[in-house]
């Protein structure tokens, strides 16, 4: 298990107060806080070896290049990618998915093809595909949800049509917490020759991830949701696919030989990293990966199951709470979405903020999902390595205050 008291000492921001109350940070699905080790790595780079990478013959350039490429190795090990060539740094998950929809999609999606998504898609894994489909005359189909808000996968062997070319879905739903059976989907997809992209924005930060065991073709995630800085995303891609794909952006670093007539592309992964990359943040992301690796992702997962189970229990004891997502904490990530009676989620979020509790309120960039749930939005508490059951208790007290303010009719729990 995690030593949460010790972990909390590594996060300077947890000492701050909000409206005179200790900060209870439950908005980790939006972005996580950063430990001292990550902040120090950023400062050390700028103070000690700030230089551009890959082309310098001087000492600072060599040190910066080594640290940047070491971060790539850490990321590859973290998700058990077969080689560093399959790890491409982007700005964020959204850019990683756009890279695939552009570079792979343009060459492979044709009129009449189908792209398969889910009803729990985040806008970042929805809009790139909608754009591609509109451009190519392809269609999009959505896998629906069961009553428990898991994917409706009865008859999984019939999931794909003859014209299905790509299936993409979140590893873990950012709005519901649902963990999707990506290994199963990957098996089916491979048999049918369908490409499979996993939006791992809520997966890699919270679950042990092994892209080879999953068997997906692409896996995308972001540094800032896993203790690292903003501005760094990762695309893992199958090597043979990445080799065939054209670059996403043109510029420095991505070329091998340039003449006035044209250019030949550089080797992987640099072919996809045009221009000066986000050197400092990639290096600090390496420190975040070290931090998570030291904790052990199995321990991170166990901690989140425990706190999620506790939060679900306490919320169920409150009157007027509607919970979304699978009831069993083992089937979900550390995300708890709920509504308090008819009270609008923004009103709930506002009252919680006055108690120092930061949650997200709204549609969580999943508007189609909210529409199919029949709500305008939800309040969402999402947990990470530094959160405690005592913090859940603070949220529960704040919810009682919200209930009093909006004076919902009292009736006893079932």
């Amino acid at each position: 298990m995690l030593d949460v008291a010790r972990i909390r000492k590594d996060f300077p921001i947890l000492e701050r107060k909000v409206h005179g109350k200790p900060l209870v940070y439950f908005d980790n699905a939006a972005t996580s806080q950063k430990p001292r080790q990550v902040i120090d790595a950023l400062v050390r780079y700028y103070e000690e070896y700030n230089a551009n990478i890959h082309r310098a013959v001087h000492t600072l350039g060599e040190e910066a290049t080594a640290a940047y490429e070491a971060a790539r190795e850490k990321v590859a090990r973290f998700i058990n990618a077969p080689s560093t060539e399959t790890i491409i740094f982007t700005r964020n998950t959204t850019e990683a998915i756009n890279l695939v929809s552009y570079s792979w999609g343009n060459a492979n999606i044709r009129e009449g093809d189908e792209i398969l998504l889910t009803e729990m898609e985040h806008h970042s894994d929805l809009i790139p595909w909608q754009r591609l489909a509109a451009e190519k005359g392809a269609t999009i189909r959505y896998i629906g949800l069961t009553e428990d808000q898991t994917l409706a996968l009865d008859g999984i062997e019939n999931l794909f049509e003859a014209n299905t070319k790509m299936v993409a879905m979140p590893h873990v739903s950012n709005s519901l917490g649902t963990i999707n059976p990506v290994e199963k989907i990957a098996r089916e997809a491979r048999q049918r020759g369908v490409m499979f992209l996993v939006d791992g924005a809520q997966g890699a930060p919270h679950l042990p991830v092994d892209v080879q065991a999953i068997g997906c073709d692409f896996y995308a995630f972001s540094s800032h949701k896993m203790l690292g800085p903003t501005g760094v995303g990762v695309l893992y891609g199958r090597r043979d696919l990445l080799e065939e794909m054209d670059p996403f952006l043109g510029g420095g670093e991505m070329r091998r030989k340039v003449t006035f007539e044209g250019a030949t592309w550089n080797d992987l992964p640099w072919k996809f990293e045009a221009g000066t990359p986000n050197i400092a943040d990639v290096i600090a992301f390496g420190a975040a990966i070290d931090y998570l690796t030291d904790l052990g992702m199995d321990n991170v997962r166990a901690h989140e199951i425990e706190i999620t189970a506790y939060a679900l229990d306490r919320l169920r004891q409150l009157n007027d709470i509607t919970l979304y997502g699978p009831p069993d904490p083992a089937d979900r990530g550390g995300v708890v979405s709920f509504n308090l009676g008819e009270v609008h989620p923004h009103d709930v979020g506002q009252v919680l903020d006055q108690y120092g509790v930061a949650v997200r309120a709204g549609h969580h960039c999943t508007q189609p999902l909210m529409r199919s749930l029949g709500v305008s939005g939800t309040a969402r508490a999402s947990f990470y390595v530094y959160n405690t059951p005592a913090e859940v208790d603070v949220m529960i007290e704040a919810l009682k205050a919200a209930r009093d303010i909006f004076r919902l009719p009292e009736h006893s729990a079932p």
Binding site: K17, H19, G20, K21, H344, D347, Q350, S376, I405
Partner: protein, 156 residues
């Protein structure tokens, strides 16, 4: 640093100011909620950031708002502000209404030129100013009404 007891009291009073009784009363018992059968103009207002929606119908006769109705969904502030607005402008001339819209939005902007007390019950919304992200919720219905007045003026 203030003591935690003082902070606690301040936090309570901030919330009390945001959710004043009169605002909560309009939230729970909305006035003029619904639609008009034969409106002079109808306009839908949207706050894309938080998804608040308000549609305002007005029926003008001899330049006065003879009847008004609103419908929509959103947070307590957006919906109660719409409800309070309908009560405040019913029976007023278009010019008087525009003046009130101006006064209300100026108050919400924190303008010194407006005495909130002069706005009657609407003064209750002044507490929302402490919560800048919610100001747009409070003004949504008012901007929507203004659009409806413009539409009616164009049509006549």
């Amino acid at each position: 640093m203030t003591s935690s007891r003082e902070e606690y009291a301040r936090q309570e009073s901030d919330l009390d100011e945001l959710y004043r009784d009169i605002i909560l009363d309009h939230y729970r018992n909305p006035r003029h909620r619904g639609s008009l059968t034969d409106p002079s103009a109808s306009h839908e207002g949207l706050n894309p950031l938080c998804g608040d929606e308000v549609t305002v119908d007005i029926a003008l006769r001899d330049g006065r708002i003879e009847d008004i109705a609103y419908r929509g969904s959103g947070c307590s502030i957006s919906q109660s502000s719409a409800s309070m607005m309908t009560e405040a402008v019913e029976g007023k001339s278009a010019d008087e209404t525009r003046e009130l819209i101006h006064g209300f939005t100026e108050m919400m902007r924190g303008s010194d030129d407006i005495d909130p007390e002069a706005l009657g019950d609407l003064e209750a919304m002044a507490g929302v100013r402490k919560f800048p992200v919610r100001v747009k919720c409070a003004t949504l219905a008012w901007h929507t009404l203004e659009e409806a007045l413009d539409e009616a003026a164009k049509a006549s």
